[in-house]
C-alpha cells in the first residue's frame, strides 16, 4: 500500500467485491448481447420494446449495486450508529482528505461504470444528453455520501432524506427535457450543469463539516427534534395494563418496531409528492388519470421495498439473525410469524386508509375529473349492476397484494440464511430479465408470426398461459400441503379460511370484470390466476424457517 488512496480503494474493493462483480457482470452481459445480436433484429419493433427496458433495468440495478458498494459506513458500538468509520479517525490523515477520498473513488467508479454502459451497450445513442446524466449521477453520489455521514445518528430521518433526495435527483435529471413544456431559463443544460456541480461541492463541504465534528467528539445523536418527539410520544396515552397474552405482547413488539414504517412513507409520499403535484396540475384532466394510477401503485411499490427488510426477524438490523433476547422468549415459532403477519396487515390497512382519504379529498375538491368522469361513465354503462362491487373488490385486491408484498418473503427472511435471500432476489430480477431477453432475441420471429397468423398466435398464447397457470397452481398446492403438514390443525384451519375468502374475492373480481363478449375464452385464466394471488405455501414455511434460525 503506497498511499492512503490505494489503501482505501483496496479496502472498499475487498468489502464490496461480490457486488462489484455483479454490477460489472450486468454491464458485461448487456454489452455481449448488444454485440451478439445482429442489427436488423435489433431494429424490429418488438426488439426495441424489449431490449430497451431490459438494458434499462440492468443498468439501474448495476448503478444501485455500485452505490451500495460505496455506502461507506460502519457500525460504531460506542455511539450505536452507522456512520463514517470511527476507526479511521485515528489515522494521521487530515479530515478533508479522509472525506474526499471515498467520494472521489465513488464518483470515479460510478462514472466509469456509466461510461461502460454508454459506450458498450447504448451504442445507438438511445440516451440523449449523456454528459448531463453523468454530472447528475456524480453529484448524487456525493450528496448521498454527505447525507449518510452527516445524519448518522438519525436513522429514520436519514432514510427519509435519502428517499426524497433520490426522487428529487430524478426530477432534476429530467429538468432539461421539460424545456419544451416550460420554456424557462432553468431548464437549459448549460445553466444547470454548473449549478449541479456547485451543489456537489456544497455537499462535500457539509460532509467535511459533519465528519470533522464527529472526529472531535461532536455529532449529537439526540437532536432537539428527537428529544421533542420522544417527549411527545411519552405524553401520548400509553397502554399501562398488562398484556392479555404472550401473542398480544409480541404483536405490540412487532407493531412498535415495524408497523408505522409503511404508513409513514405513504403519508410522506402523499404530502410531499402527490399533494403538491396534484395542486400544480389541477387543471390538467389527463394528468388526473395518470396520477390516480400512480397513486394506486405507490403503496405496492413501497411495500415491495419495505418488504425486503420486513421479512427479517429484526427490521433495522443488517443481517437476518435472531437476537438472544428474541430467541429466548417462551413463544412458539408460529406465534412470531402470526405477530408479523398481523402487524403487516395493520400497516397495510393504515397506509391504504391514508391513500383513500387523500383520494376522497383530492378528487372532489381540486382535481379536474372530466376525463375520469367520462371513463367512469363508460365503465358504469358496461357493468350496470356490478360496477360498485368491482370497484370495492379491486381496492380490496390491491390492499391484499400490498400485504402480500410485505409478508410473502417471510420464509426467506426468517430463515436467516443470507444465501437464500440473495438467491430469491436474484430470481425475482433474473426471471423477468431472462424472459425479456428471450423475447428480444426471438423478436423477429414473433413480429412475423403476429403479422401473418394472429389468431393462431393468440390461441397458442392462451393455451400456453393456461397450462403454465395450471402447473403453477398445482405446484403451489403441492408445496402448501408439505409446508402446512407440521403446523397445528387449528391454525391451518384458520389460515385456510382466510385464504379461501381472499381467493373467492379475487375469483369474484375476475368473473365480474371479465368482458361480456369473451372472444378469447380466457375466463379460466382468471380463475387460475386468482388461485395464485394469496400466499399459502410460503406462509406455512415461515415457522419452519424460523425454527431453523432459532435452533442452529
Amino acid at each position: 500500500m503506497h498511499s492512503p488512496l490505494t489503501a482505501l480503494a483496496w479496502e472498499i474493493w475487498q468489502r464490496g467485491r461480490r457486488a462489484a462483480q455483479l454490477a460489472l457482470g450486468c454491464a458485461g452481459l448487456c454489452a455481449l448481447i448488444n454485440l451478439a445480436v445482429p442489427e436488423p433484429v435489433r431494429a424490429a419493433d418488438t426488439a426495441q420494446a424489449v431490449f430497451g427496458p431490459l438494458f434499462g433495468l440492468l443498468m439501474v440495478l448495476s448503478l444501485f449495486l455500485s452505490m451500495g458498494i460505496f455506502n461507506y459506513t460502519e457500525y460504531s458500538a460506542s455511539r450505536e450508529w452507522n456512520g463514517f468509520p470511527y476507526r479511521l479517525f485515528a489515522l494521521p490523515i487530515r479530515t478533508w482528505k479522509l472525506v474526499l477520498l471515498p467520494m472521489l473513488l465513488g464518483v470515479a467508479a460510478v462514472e466509469l461504470l456509466y461510461l461502460a454502459w454508454i459506450k458498450l451497450v447504448w451504442t445507438h445513442h438511445e440516451i440523449p444528453k449523456p454528459e448531463w446524466f453523468a454530472v447528475v449521477l456524480g453529484a448524487y453520489l456525493v450528496s448521498y455520501l454527505a447525507v449518510l455521514w452527516s445524519l448518522a445518528g438519525f436513522r429514520i430521518l436519514r432514510l427519509l432524506v435519502l428517499g426524497l433526495g433520490g426522487v428529487s435527483s430524478i426530477l432534476v435529471a429530467l429538468l432539461p427535457f421539460f424545456s419544451g413544456i416550460f420554456p424557462s431559463p432553468w431548464c437549459s443544460e448549460r445553466r444547470d450543469i454548473p449549478l449541479v456541480l456547485g451543489m456537489a461541492v456544497l455537499a462535500y463541504g457539509v460532509a467535511w463539516g459533519a465528519v470533522a465534528r464527529q472526529r472531535c467528539g461532536g455529532g449529537r445523536r439526540h437532536s432537539r427534534i428527537k428529544a421533542l418527539a420522544e417527549r411527545l410520544s411519552d405524553r401520548l396515552p400509553r397502554r399501562t395494563g398488562a398484556f392479555a397474552s404472550p401473542a398480544g405482547a409480541q404483536f405490540w413488539f412487532e407493531w412498535r418496531r415495524t408497523g408505522l414504517l409503511l404508513p409513514l412513507y405513504a403519508a410522506l409520499a402523499l404530502a410531499a409528492i402527490f399533494g403538491p403535484c396534484s395542486w400544480i396540475f389541477r387543471h390538467d384532466p389527463q394528468y388526473t388519470l395518470l396520477m390516480l394510477v400512480r397513486l394506486l401503485v405507490t403503496p405496492l411499490i413501497l411495500a415491495f421495498a419495505i418488504g425486503k427488510a420486513f421479512i427479517k426477524p429484526e427490521l433495522w438490523s443488517g443481517d437476518a439473525a435472531l437476537t438472544a433476547f428474541q430467541a429466548t422468549r417462551p413463544l412458539p415459532d408460529g406465534e412470531f410469524v402470526i405477530s408479523k403477519m398481523k402487524s403487516a396487515a395493520l400497516s397495510t390497512a393504515l397506509a391504504w386508509l391514508f391513500v383513500l382519504g387523500f383520494m376522497a379529498l383530492w378528487l372532489p375538491l381540486w382535481a379536474d375529473t372530466t376525463d375520469l368522469n367520462r371513463l367512469l361513465g363508460g365503465f358504469r354503462l358496461s357493468y350496470p349492476q356490478s360496477w360498485l362491487a368491482i370497484l370495492v373488490l379491486s381496492f380490496a385486491g390491491l390492499a391484499v397484494l400490498t400485504w402480500r408484498c410485505l409478508v410473502s418473503g417471510l420464509w426467506v427472511g426468517l430463515s436467516g440464511k443470507r444465501s437464500l435471500m440473495i438467491a430469491t432476489s436474484c430470481l425475482q430480477v433474473g426471471l423477468p430479465a431472462s424472459l425479456m431477453l428471450a423475447a428480444g432475441l426471438c423478436s423477429q420471429g414473433i413480429d412475423a408470426a403476429v403479422r401473418e397468423h394472429p389468431n393462431e398466435v393468440r390461441a397458442a398464447m392462451v393455451s400456453a398461459a393456461g397450462w403454465l397457470l395450471a402447473l403453477a397452481v398445482a405446484a403451489k398446492l403441492g408445496w402448501a400441503v408439505w409446508a402446512w403438514s407440521k403446523i397445528t390443525p387449528r391454525r391451518t384451519r384458520q389460515y385456510l379460511l382466510l385464504w379461501s375468502g381472499a381467493t373467492l374475492g379475487f375469483v369474484a373480481l375476475g368473473m365480474l370484470a371479465s368482458p361480456r363478449e369473451d372472444l378469447w375464452r380466457v375466463e379460466h385464466l382468471y380463475v387460475l390466476a386468482a388461485l395464485l394471488m394469496f400466499p399459502l405455501a410460503r406462509i406455512g414455511m415461515a415457522p419452519r424457517a424460523l425454527a431453523g434460525n432459532r435452533h442452529r
Binding site: 398488562a242 392479555a244 404472550p246 398480544g248 405490540w252 438472544a324 422468549r329 413463544l331 435452533h551 442452529r552
Partner: protein
C-alpha cells in the same frame, strides 16, 4: 474421572455425551454434566473453552449434534416454550432492545411468564434504582445488566442461567448479581447455573463446580471435595535447580532456584517419596484457592497426555 450421574428425572439439567463442532474447531467434546435441583452449579473455563456454547445448548439456541440435552427432563429444541418458561437467563451482554423503556420491558416480559410477581418486580426495580421511563439505550452497562437481571428474576424461575454476567461490571452490580443468586437458591427447589471468570465469586456461592478446558470437562464435583483433593506443596531443594524438576503427575510446577511450588491433585500422586528422591523436602502444604486450581488445570495437558510442566 467419575461424574455424578443421577437419573434424568432428578436432575434439572442433564447433558450426556454432547459434542459440537464449528467447522474444524471442536467447541465441546463429549461433555456430560448433571445438575441436581436446589443448588448453585458453577462452570469455569478459560475464554473459548465452550461455556457459552454449552449454555446456548441449554436454551435451545443450538441443536445437539451428538448426545442429549435435557432441561427439566425436556428437550429445549423440541419444547422451547415449556423449557424457556421456567428459565431466567442473563448473558454477558444482555441484548435488550434499546428502544424500549424500562417499564415497557417489564410489561412485555411479564406477558410471557405466568409466575411473574409484580410486587417483587417493583421491589427489585426500586432496589436497583432503575427509572421506569428511561430508555434502555441510555442506561449504562451496569444498569443494563441490572435490568436484565430484573427481567430474569421477577418470575421466580426454576432455573436461573447466568452466562458470565459480571464481566466488565463494577463491584456493586456484581454484588447485586450474587445476591440474586443467593436469593434464588435460598428458595427451596430452585437452581442456579452460573458460568464466570471471577473465581472468587464461584468459590463463594457454588455448591458444585465443573471446569471446561478446550471443550472437555476436566473437573466436576462438589466444591469442598475439589478443594480438599488438591494440594499446593512448597519444596525446598538442597541444590538450586536450573530447570524445573520433573515430577510426574503434578499439574503445575513453578518457581526458581531452591524454592519450587507444586500444585497437584492429591489423590493422583504421593509427593513425599518423590520429593525425597529428587533431594527436596516439603516445607509447606496448603489447600490451593480455586484460582490456582483453575490455572493449574488450564495450563496442564488433557488427561491421557503427558504433563507439560511450566517453569
Amino acid at each position: 474421572m467419575n461424574f455424578p450421574s443421577p437419573s434424568s428425572a432428578e436432575s434439572v439439567i442433564s447433558i450426556t455425551g454432547l459434542t459440537r463442532r464449528f467447522g474444524p474447531k471442536t467447541a465441546l467434546n463429549d461433555v456430560s454434566l448433571y445438575v441436581p435441583p436446589g443448588g448453585v452449579f458453577g462452570l469455569v473455563g478459560e475464554n473459548g473453552a465452550g461455556k457459552t456454547t454449552l449454555i446456548k445448548h441449554l436454551l435451545g439456541l443450538f441443536r445437539a449434534e451428538t448426545g442429549e440435552v435435557r432441561v427439566f427432563g425436556l428437550d429445549p429444541v423440541a419444547e422451547p416454550v415449556a423449557v424457556l418458561g421456567g428459565i431466567g437467563y442473563l448473558s454477558e451482554q444482555p441484548d435488550l432492545p434499546g428502544w424500549m423503556r424500562v417499564d415497557e420491558l417489564l410489561r412485555y416480559t411479564q406477558a410471557f411468564y405466568p409466575n411473574w410477581d409484580p410486587a417483587y418486580a417493583e421491589q427489585l426495580r426500586v432496589q436497583f434504582g432503575l427509572n421506569p421511563t428511561q430508555r434502555i439505550s441510555t442506561l449504562s452497562k451496569g444498569q443494563r445488566a441490572k435490568a436484565g437481571l430484573l427481567a430474569a428474576q421477577a418470575h421466580r424461575p426454576k432455573l436461573l442461567l447466568l452466562d458470565e454476567p459480571s464481566s466488565g461490571l463494577d463491584p456493586m452490580v456484581r454484588r447485586d448479581i450474587l445476591e440474586a443468586v443467593i436469593r434464588t437458591v435460598a428458595d427451596e427447589g430452585r437452581t442456579v447455573f452460573f458460568s464466570s471468570h471471577l473465581l472468587e465469586e464461584i468459590e463463594r456461592v457454588s455448591d458444585q463446580v465443573a471446569m471446561l478446558h478446550q471443550g472437555q470437562i476436566v473437573l466436576c464435583g462438589p466444591l469442598d471435595e475439589i478443594k480438599a483433593r488438591h494440594r499446593r506443596y512448597t519444596l525446598h531443594f538442597e541444590k538450586a535447580q536450573v530447570k524445573s524438576p520433573a515430577i510426574a503427575g503434578a499439574l503445575r510446577i513453578s518457581g526458581s532456584g531452591k524454592e519450587w511450588t507444586v500444585v497437584c491433585n492429591g489423590a493422583g500422586i504421593n509427593l513425599p517419596p518423590l520429593a525425597a528422591g529428587l533431594g527436596a523436602r516439603i516445607v509447606g502444604e496448603q489447600i490451593p484457592s480455586l484460582n490456582e486450581i483453575f490455572e493449574a488445570h488450564a495450563g496442564a495437558a488433557l488427561p491421557g497426555q503427558p504433563a507439560a510442566p511450566l517453569s
